[in-house]
Symmetry: C2
Subunit: 409 residues, 2 copies
Amino acid sequence: MPREFTHLLRPEEAKALFQKAFTPRPRGTEVVPLLEAFGRVLARDIIADMNLPPFDRSTVDGYAIRASDVADFNEALTIAGEVRMGELPVFSIGPREAARIPTGGALPSGADAVVMQEHVRLLDDRRIQLTRPVAVWENVIRKGEDVREGEVVLRAGTRLRPQEVALLAGLGRTEVEVYLVPRVAVIVTGDEIVPPEHFPRPGQIRDMNTYSLTGLIRGLGAVAHPYGIVVDEREVLLDVLRQASRTADMILVSGGSSVGERDVVAEAFTALGATIVVHGVAIKPGKPTILAIHEGKPLIGLPGHPVSAMVVFDVFVRELLEGMLGLTLRRGFGKEVRAKLARSLGPAKEREEHVRVALEERNGQLWAVPIIGKSGVITTMVKADGIVVVPVGGAVLPEGTEVDVRLFD
Amino acid sequence: MPREFTHLLRPEEAKALFQKAFTPRPRGTEVVPLLEAFGRVLARDIIADMNLPPFDRSTVDGYAIRASDVADFNEALTIAGEVRMGELPVFSIGPREAARIPTGGALPSGADAVVMQEHVRLLDDRRIQLTRPVAVWENVIRKGEDVREGEVVLRAGTRLRPQEVALLAGLGRTEVEVYLVPRVAVIVTGDEIVPPEHFPRPGQIRDMNTYSLTGLIRGLGAVAHPYGIVVDEREVLLDVLRQASRTADMILVSGGSSVGERDVVAEAFTALGATIVVHGVAIKPGKPTILAIHEGKPLIGLPGHPVSAMVVFDVFVRELLEGMLGLTLRRGFGKEVRAKLARSLGPAKEREEHVRVALEERNGQLWAVPIIGKSGVITTMVKADGIVVVPVGGAVLPEGTEVDVRLFD
């Protein structure tokens, strides 16, 4: 590997190259109870084995009638019965007959509409008169109007929101087959890094990447296995990598911001038997990124700077993890917003720049305020709402330019 | 209470009235380990008890120098030592001296800049020459540049994202005081409702609201206690309400779409000793909404129709729960998108209409496609990405009108 990154791949080139070497997919499926299924990704298409609702259902309190028969809505109708909730009426409705029905009640046979009780005059105990005409099937949810038997109602690859889980409940699915969740090992290297519970000696700094990466992994619905801090020695790192590769589906190694450390990570990957596909990407921050494969599992070397590690996660790891989660049907809305730059950015000469921005609304206009700070400064991420990308080779983006802001989750 | 909702409050009126009766706030705090703190809401301001970084730190591999001394950058500098990671150098840098330093290394005393190794020529084992000038503090994160000792770095009321947790780790907080999570009881009433594991008899329908409401509650970071299905009898419901009010901080009762059921819910609330503040709101769907208070806890009556229950949750319950979570510092970006209506909507004559829409992008323009369907039809929510509100008393919103779409989480 070149020590000085003489040739840096563009992010798209790096992604394309890695995609040729690795196709992210779930490692299997499991069946979970419905109340545990929120946020999980459906592993099979769901085909309805019944109609929903299973019967014609009133949407209002009122009277079930035969609208097709009521030529003159002023005519008196005879009350033939009353529908009880949760029961199929045993009587039927003949011409010029009506039955009292509650919201949600099943229409008696013969009825083809419901008139709201507000639009009915009670003539006596047994007779009503409509005060306005009613269309056929008015105030009725038809049998199968929500879901038709045999219909594919949900597709594999969908992340289950509350409404999808509710629909599964409505169809009687008390369990659901979802994709297994990927397990991601998080390893932090760096001889200057100490765990948060230690008081750093002069020259030392506390570990932040275990926490930011664990949070990002969990935020996507995957499981993080933090391995803690590993000293910058090839054999020690190799040993931890071997351990992690036994159970993890993906391994993230953060650290290696200095050339020597970078070499240790790349060497340990190679010693493990991994194939290094990408080493060095033209992205700022994030240059030292390593994308490797070992036994069908991605091994990602992330920079040690806390901001850089989060940006590289966002650019490379997120997509891989979504693939491993089985998330093929994505709802991408709300992940980006348009805003005007509050300050000029760029030009990005050699590396695509991922600039942290805070969003501010002034007089109905959204402004993206670039947050200046080095990639080791975590508070810049704390102040930020998202990222603006400045592509390589473009001109300066002047103040007021409309840009897309990629929002943090 | 009026059986026929002769006077319906507008949603803002209902909210204002309820706000006078109830101020949502967290019921207390707890201390959790940092790795369990993601998504929790900070209960106290965090004041830094140290500088971050705690020392001047190099951001590159190179040589620490005294930039303030290097008048002519072409002059030869003598290598005075090498900085090791995780150690404070014991030597210092004098005029015309340099020390090899890795990324993240601590600057030796005397040094005030780092020159990248790419911009250095090695003259021999002991001397280097710079190939370009270096500014004072170039390639250095100054001590306290990220966080200054004594500074308030995070405010109470912030939801902890990965970067906030990382910052806490950097400051050595291994535990963090967060607000207790509200517990929300979910009760479903309706004589026609059976649990998903039952095969519905004619006239019966399976419970969906337990699932949609549990998902919405959990999605906000609160805890749902599903109580299952309760028959539409005042005494039975009262008994379950009494049970629930012992442990829950909020109670949701869905059901009561028919007048009789609505009365049972309102009567049970009153029999419990609750004060009904709002009964009936001019919102479509969602008219039968009940907002009540009992012993300082909100009791919310939601409509039985699955779509209506979700809309009322969104309009009334979400805000209350966010207050009870202690979430005072919200990041609201990405919760709404602007889109053009693909079909005309409105006018809304008497009730504010909350219309489900699917989003479609065509040639870079986002379109909101209204999804037509009754409020009992859950698949309309499955197809939808969000909600467009049509205010009361306005004109028709013609096709092509720019609207705000409130996105589902």
